[in-house]
């Protein structure tokens, strides 16, 4: 499942940025997969009630495939949606069998309904905010005279104040017992073990980054994985098990198995 690329690919993102960036830009505009589906659906330029779910699924899957090609980190729900759509597609394409599962058509109809409902709410939101708003288009008395008309109780405390106070109290309380979330980092030991395993299968120079575990791209975990693997190569080079090469500052680091093979490992 490692799926390493053949070595010597300039995959360190130097060139590949622009499509990735584009995709990031696109993704940035969406409030989740359903929102994105809706936007794709609108491109079909048909009434949402007549939308082709099959076509929509294809568009979405193509987008996801593209995103993965440029190694774009996708939030889990985008992938869940992709899996679901792929399943839906298969249900739509394969003749229906009698079982208790909802039919492909039912599922497609349900999705279409969800898109319509989301669209309706977006429309409603737009209409709502197009209304003249207090303090923007319509104004209340600018200099209210304090007449104590409303105050049955003298103190002005709203439910919000009350909840906020309790929230802050709880926060302080929890602050007393500091819960530190476990930090998920890639350990040096793991990296050494992993590299040792992989080295045997690596005939020639390969970039360090191609050794990184799949599926942890982006974020702290990746950075720690990179750091751990780098440290591991130093460790292994010291042990005489690998050779390292770097052509210039900041350029990719290459690794290969040491040519003189005295595999007596741990001398540390």
């Amino acid at each position: 499942m490692v799926g390493r690329k053949p070595p010597d690919h300039k995959d360190e993102g130097a060139e590949a940025v622009s499509p990735a960036e584009q995709l990031v830009l696109v993704l940035d505009g969406f409030e989740g997969p359903l929102d994105m589906l809706l936007a794709l659906g609108r491109e079909q330029k048909v009434d949402l009630t007549k939308i082709s779910i099959l076509q929509l699924a294809d568009q979405y899957l193509a987008f996801i495939a593209e995103a993965r090609k440029v190694r774009l980190e996708l939030a889990a729900d985008y992938l869940v949606m992709a899996a679901w759509l792929a399943y839906l597609k298969s249900r739509l394409l394969i003749p229906e069998v009698e079982d208790e599962e909802p039919s492909g058509e039912d599922m497609a109809a349900a999705l279409a309904f969800q898109l319509q409902r989301l669209e309706a709410m977006k429309g409603a939101a737009a209409q709502l905010f197009a209304r003249p708003q207090l303090g923007v288009d319509r104004f209340a008395r600018g200099a209210p005279e304090d007449l104590d008309i409303l105050r049955k109780s003298v103190f002005q405390v709203t439910l919000y104040d009350l909840l906020k106070a309790y929230g802050e109290h709880k926060k302080r309380q929890e602050g007393g017992v500091l819960h530190i979330e476990p930090v998920r980092l890639y350990s040096l030991e793991d990296a050494v073990r992993r590299l040792s395993e992989l080295l045997g299968r690596m005939p020639d120079w390969a970039t360090l980054s191609s050794f990184l575990p799949d599926g942890v791209r982006g974020g702290l975990l990746t950075r720690s994985a990179l750091a751990a693997h780098f440290a591991a190569t130093l460790e292994l080079a010291k042990a005489g098990r690998v050779e390292l090469r770097q052509d210039g500052a900041f350029s990719p680091i290459y690794v290969r198995r040491a040519s003189r093979r005295h595999e007596q490992g741990d001398e540390e």
């Binding site: 409030e31 989740g32 997969p33 359903l34 929102d35 889990a76 729900d77 869940v80 949606m81 899996a83 679901w84 399943y87 599922m107 349900a110 999705l111 309904f113 969800q114 319509q116 409902r117 989301l118 309706a120 709410m121 977006k122 429309g123 409603a124 939101a125 209409q127 709502l128 905010f129 209304r131 003249p132 708003q133 207090l134 303090g135 923007v136 288009d137 319509r138 104004f139 209340a140 008395r141 209210p144 005279e145 304090d146 007449l147 008309i149 409303l150 709203t158 439910l159 919000y160 909840l163 979330e181």
Partner: protein, 217 residues
């Protein structure tokens, strides 16, 4: 004004006329003085005993209908507000209102149209988890508040809009929400989650909200 001018139909005796006039002026002053809407009960307590608050308010409303300041009704309360058609002339130059996020705007619309609605339902409709701070902002603006708990497993909290929401958007009642009847007729105000696989959190409708929340951190 007061006094027996001895003409035209006076069913009322002079004293009543005077009282009515005083009540009208008092209503005007009360409503004018307050920045927030006042309900009929509160107003009634300040008037002559037995005064027909509603009728007096109607009279004022008609009087002010054509003027630069109108008497309008939102939710349970009445308030003076500048006339809507003057908005372009009054609008402040600086965009005062801090920009609300798209998530917040959509969430507010969903709460307004689907209320009472649980967070899980909101998430099912939007297809994404509600980020922290979204409901917070809406509540801080005084537009939403917690409603009753839903009597389903987990007893999730529901959210509803406030009277201030109506006031802010100049709505008399929730029935005046733009397009609400059409949406209802089209069946689009059904807030149940429809599909598995969409809007992860939306599926946990039946579950105690604790679960979704905890995973948030």
């Amino acid at each position: 004004m007061s006094g027996p001018d001895g003409m035209i139909q006076e069913i009322d005796n002079p004293e009543e006329v005077e009282q009515r006039l005083r009540d009208l002026r008092l209503l005007e002053a009360l409503l004018f003085a307050s920045a927030d809407p006042l309900d009929e009960e509160t107003l009634g307590r300040r008037l002559t005993r037995g005064a027909d608050v509603r009728a007096l308010l109607e009279e004022l409303r008609v009087h002010y209908a054509a003027r630069g300041v109108n008497l309008i009704r939102t939710g349970a309360g009445w308030s003076f507000r500048t006339a809507v058609d003057l908005a372009p002339l009054l609008r402040q130059e600086e965009e005062v209102s801090k920009k609300l996020s798209r998530a917040a705007i959509e969430t507010l619309a969903i709460i307004a149209y689907h209320q009472p609605v649980t967070r899980a339902e909101i998430e099912a409709i939007r297809g994404v988890a509600t980020s922290k701070g979204t409901l917070d902002i809406l509540m801080e603006n005084g537009w939403i508040r917690p409603g009753r708990r839903r009597e389903t497993p987990g007893r999730p909290l529901t959210w509803i809009t406030t009277d201030h929401f109506l006031d802010h958007f100049g709505l008399e009642t929730l029935r005046d929400l733009p397009g609400v009847e059409d949406l209802r007729a089209a069946g689009l105000l059904d807030s149940r989650p429809v599909l598995l696989g969409i809007g992860g959190a939306g599926l946990e409708d039946a579950e105690p909200s604790e679960n979704t929340d905890d995973s948030d951190t």
